[in-house]
Subunit: 428 residues, 2 copies
């Protein structure tokens, strides 16, 4: 099997001035082709350092893809480093030269020696045309020093790299590849990584050969990524689907999707399918839930809007929560969350209303209501029933202010998702 590595050139990466998105994009492309990646290395544009990195990478892996350092300025030394390492000269690629000439004349400029140098490739390489810029890329066969090894040089400009990968490098890789790899994320909400791991331990203990499971916790839950590599696409797909399905059955109370959709997209799809519209009333999350929902294009079809009711006065005036209720139970209580949800339902005209009230911190706690306390309310119009269905729930989180806001918003989306799931299955 062919293994690959990525080398990213540039001092700006080592100073943290640029995030290495190129490497992630190339890695994702190779992963979809079933080419496992061994390492990603970022190094400076110093020639000696590059030679060391190239030589080490070619010693380990069959295919080394390099981005950056192919431009016309004096800190662009990648071509030179490859030449020195392999003891090769440069040769002009006529097709690339024509591309550069066309581009230069289209801008009404004169060709300079510097521009011409952009069409020079290392001897013994396949030139990669640059349809988005001027510097030619190249796939260099590294024999005899590194037998059966290839070094691919591409510019660091993302659109130029992407066009070269798609147009030349990936087709070249496909011709040489014997395996297929399939990835499926099983996405969960409301469960921690270790509890989830315990829940699906029986699947992990009997994985078929070629299939692996990885946990990807993030602010919005834990994804379980199921990856399968096999010679035959059909076998890879079948084995991958079986494992993803088994995990999703064992953890079904927490799995909102098998695939790439976010919880926000999942919820919006469910609302659309059930012909519901949504409004929100937010206190402690201060608009975050609404902002997450409206991050999804097309959310305006089902999301009518909301109320940000930070103060008690706003809860009274905008939602009609009674002063008596606020005094008796406090703003962070199941009772007030229910009243907020009911007020939001009535005043928005939506068919589902979600209300969030809590203490994000660091201030605002009282002796019986700690920072991290959250009350959620949900009100739904129900067909054939005299009044709306209302529910509430009280939870406790343990983060700082921003973590709490995110976890509160996540808990609110989870409550909504569970309600929609119940009505989804009851309508089946």
């Amino acid at each position: 099997m062919m293994h690959a590595e990525i080398v990213s050139i540039g001092d700006e990466l080592l100073k943290g001035q640029r995030v290495n998105t190129n490497a992630a994009e190339i890695a994702a492309m190779l992963s979809l082709e079933g080419v496992p990646l061994r390492r990603i290395t970022a190094c400076s544009d110093c020639e000696d350092e590059m030679q060391d990195v190239f030589s080490e990478a070619l010693g380990r892996s069959e295919l080394v893809l390099v981005t950056g350092g192919l431009g016309p300025t004096r800190d662009d030394r990648t071509r030179n480093a490859a030449q020195k390492l392999l003891g090769r000269g440069l040769t002009l690629d006529p097709a690339s030269l024509r591309e550069v000439e066309l581009r230069v004349s289209a801008r009404g400029r004169e060709m300079t020696e510097l521009m011409r140098s952009q069409a020079m490739v290392v001897e013994g390489s396949l030139a990669i045309p640059n349809i988005k810029g001027t510097a030619a890329g190249m796939i260099i066969s590294c024999a005899p020093r590194f037998s059966q090894r290839h070094l691919v040089l591409m510019p660091g400009v993302p659109v130029e790299m992407q066009a070269m990968m798609e147009g030349t490098v990936l087709p070249w890789v496909r011709e040489r590849s014997e395996t297929t790899i399939i990835h499926t994320p099983v996405r969960t909400i409301g469960i921690g990584e270790s509890t989830l791991a315990e829940m699906i331990v029986s699947v992990e203990d009997s994985l078929p050969e070629g299939t692996t499971v990885a946990y990807l916790p993030h602010g919005a839950g834990v994804d379980v990524m199921v990856s399968t590599i096999a010679d035959l696409r059909e076998r890879a797909e079948a084995e991958n689907a079986a494992v993803a399905g088994a995990i999703s059955t064992l953890a079904k109370e927490f799995v909102y999707t098998v695939g790439n959709r976010s919880i926000e997209e999942t919820i919006l799809d469910m609302l659309r399918r059930q012909r519901e519209t949504l409004a929100v009333a937010e206190s402690c999350t201060g608009g975050l839930v609404a902002s997450r929902i409206t991050d999804v294009a097309g959310s305006s079809e089902v999301f009518t809007g909301g109320f940000i009711v930070y103060s008690n006065m706003a809860k009274e005036e905008q939602l009609g929560v009674s002063r008596g209720l606020l005094d008796a139970f406090g703003a962070v209580s199941g009772e007030v969350a229910r009243a907020m949800a009911m007020g939001c339902l009535q005043r928005s005209g939506a068919s589902v209303a979600l209300a969030i009230t809590g203490i994000a911190g660091p201030g605002g706690a009282t002796p019986d209501k700690p920072v991290g306390m959250l009350a959620l309310g949900l009100a739904r119009q129900t067909a054939g029933s005299p009044g709306p269905h209302v529910e509430s729930s009280v939870l406790f989180m343990h983060g700082d202010r921003l973590q709490n806001k995110l976890r509160f918003s996540q808990a609110a989306l989870r409550m909504l998702w569970e309600s929609l799931r119940r009505s989804d299955s009851s309508s089946e």
Copy 2:
């Protein structure tokens, strides 16, 4: 001089499922401390591979910072790889165990062996408390095998890594450094990088030795980072303050703070000082402006709340915008933005109201109103005047949906900041 490297552990990086933002953040932090970085390597969570990578990195550089693979699941093998490489056992860190126990009991759970394992550190290391999670970090002295070398292990969860860097690792690095480095960000809003650079060219042309200026553009504006390195702290501070002051004078129309405060914090301070309260009415930003404001602790003192009015109906019912106005000018217009601001002012009881209506895209454009169009409205109660002061402004942005939402929110905050600045200076 101490050189450093970063090693990022995780198959998800090699599969391109996650962009390596951790490495960029750590690199930026080290760069600010004057510690040069030699390489960034991402590798799999396979123990043998990690041992190779650690050993190579420790052979080249004095300080190797590792993130990832410290969690409780079986693909978390970083601790084991470090143990095998250095031939060390594990030891329980009592302080970390207490942290884990507190966190677990606060959630009403039972301690398990897996949870307890999160407090184990490699022998001969300094434990790094994890104030945001459960897995302890550690700074491992690698002598005798790697004399004068240190391996730092941290979790891959960004907030946990950040807290460990700031709380323990950077102070530890500073103690070992012989020079002082001072950084001051001069933070701007509403001006591009190249225009800003022209505006302050005279300062850049006469920088004292040891002082550098870097432009850090981000979603919320451009920061000019002024860095001064010197043997004596007093000299570094004085020279740094002089340059930051000169830049802030030249670009004063655009500088909202010299130091680390965000635009949200700056605005909340101005509101507090001027005894104003704020409410917002958001259409296209869908709660993002309110969410950004409520990210700041204590915002409830001056932020009363807001209205998320996605649909025309919501604009009519929640804010009293007239149907006639919506029909005549369209929802995205200066006229409707003014009416939204007036409605928000009246119905919230706040003294300042900010309204945002626009087309974030990709849908929603009309022949005369493109994606990216934004109308802002601002209404303020003014002492001694019969009615509120109202203003509006129409702008055009050119991003995708999420970029537009962020830029819209930024433009709205800028409008508010400018209004508050005028009243700040008129009250002096």
